[in-house]
Symmetry: C2
């Protein structure tokens, strides 16, 4: 569990439950269906700074384990929908599998080139530098410019 989504009401302790998810869906004109609640709560459970992104297969597997079966195709369709409305961010990890995570406050990602861990990096520190650096290119950074850094996570750094 972890914290705060964009305009999402949340419980005092930072976690968020079914009701919050329902609100989130309605805010975007989407219907509240069991599959969507299941998928979103799976993502919410994964919301730790490390490995907060899951692949469609991982989401599906977690739901199976919880006896909240949702078809894989539905997972894909749901992710597609949620990405479109901006509730979820897609991220290509190993160039071949997409992973999805709740779109929290603007942040970037650091992928460990050794163990594959995905670490969330708050944007505030980077944003300014990025904006300035990209100015010369005429390129307009999108608000939530999700970067992907590559390197070694703290753990692999030791080994």
């Amino acid at each position: 569990m972890a914290g705060m989504q964009q305009g999402i009401s949340e419980t005092p302790d930072g976690s968020f439950g079914d009701d919050d998810i329902r609100t989130l869906l309605r805010e975007h004109g989407l219907r509240c269906t069991a599959p969507r609640l299941a998928v979103l709560s799976a993502l919410a459970e994964a919301e730790s700074p490390v490995n907060h992104h899951l692949s469609a297969a991982q989401i599906h597997q977690r739901l199976v384990e919880q006896r909240r079966d949702v078809d894989l195709a539905t997972v894909y369709r749901t992710m597609s929908t949620l990405v479109r409305v901006g509730v979820v961010h897609a991220l290509a990890v190993d160039e071949n599998v997409s992973t999805y995570g709740l779109a929290a406050q603007p942040h970037h990602h650091a992928v460990c080139t050794r163990c594959g861990a995905i670490i969330e990096v708050p944007a505030d520190q980077l944003s300014a530098a990025l904006a300035q650096a990209s100015q010369g290119t005429g390129f307009l950074l999108s608000d939530q410019a999700g970067l992907t850094l590559h390197g070694l996570c703290p753990e692999c750094r030791r080994a």
Copy 2:
């Protein structure tokens, strides 16, 4: 055509030909085969700051057009080999297709969210800021930390 690869000898005008590619391959203990020369020259031809990355299919297609047929599977195997030795960088564009480009000087990429153009961004400006920003996380950035910025390219920015 464009410029300078890592430790590659190059012609005075910055372009580089078959001999340079041969040298490049030998430096990495790889054999100089027709398919490899073809694939690498295709990448070299794409080396402009914009859209310098090509997908396996694009590389294959260009080679077919040039009557230098190489099997698609060979293109994939070649890219895999070249990425392993560090001559080429892989980049997932739309989360679902890998694209490949010559590993030139350290640089990052800016992908236009509208037209898909990939623009090369020199690293020097960003590197310092990145190193500093990631310090707090305990994450060790890899040397060639290839970032992927997202936003609008100069052209789409107008439209």
